[in-house]
Subunit: 131 residues, 2 copies
DNA sequence: CCGTATCCGGAGCGATACTG
DNA sequence: CAGTATCGCTCCGGATACGG
């Protein structure tokens, strides 16, 4: 298969009640780089190399994987210009752009509460490690 | 240490630009059970056993881990009643309750777009597998 | 420039057995 | 009832090397 594999594990997962289908989105949001890549793509069309510079620690492999998964979910379009050297452009689809709102909400909440969370952790860890 | 370990990997992670601290929240939202547990806790105070029944496939181990991490982040409180048999109650904190809004947004977006996403995937997979 | 193939360590999670 | 301890597997993700 391509790129190792793309993460198409055939999940049985027959439960799912009022929530359901959340898992799909959760999977994207959960993996390490998607959010950062989408944030950069929110700024407009980006090339592969460009993205790799914009997202600090990401490896070539993970950038490819992340983009492929986004493409598969219809969140990003991939346009190959048959030039030499090759040039590939990535752009958020309409659905992809609508997801940036969600990510914004995520970021806002994180920023608003990260002080409290950090303090809570510190306190918790002290209780554990100290005693 | 308790429960295997709680997931306190000392990350170097020196990057972080306009985003930053998102990782914390992303970690919670990313793991398999947190969202479902929080959804149930949004309904009010719940006991351990009760949660395990309410969240279909979760194992005792994963429920414990999930609750401990939430407790560490100051999102839930754990109250032990020294009765026999023991009785432990979990409840969302103020911060925890504010996170339910975020999860709601996540769920709404998922529901609103899962048709499109499913179709995109189907198309993508067909292009790959078919050709 | 834009990938893909491969190897590999470690985290996440499930199953199971045992304790207060 | 509410955990904890241990084992084992799977998959994610980093490093590296190679191809069009």
């Amino acid at each position: 298969m391509s790129v190792g594999h793309i993460g198409v594990t055939t999940e049985p997962e027959p439960s799912c009640e009022e929530d359901c289908g959340i898992r799909d989105v959760q999977d994207r949001l959960g993996d390490k780089w998607t959010v950062y890549v989408v944030v950069e793509l929110a700024g407009g069309i980006r090339r592969f190399r460009e993205l790799q510079r914009l997202v600090p620690g990401i490896s070539q492999r993970m950038l490819t994987l992340t983009l492929r998964r986004l493409e598969r979910d219809g969140l990003v379009t991939r346009t190959v210009h048959p030039t030499v050297p090759p040039q590939v452009e990535y752009e958020l689809t309409r659905t992809g752009r609508s997801m940036t709102g969600l990510i914004k909400a995520l970021a806002d909440w994180s920023l608003a509460h990260r002080g409290v969370i950090a303090e809570a952790r510190r306190a918790y860890d002290e209780r554990q490690g100290g005693a």
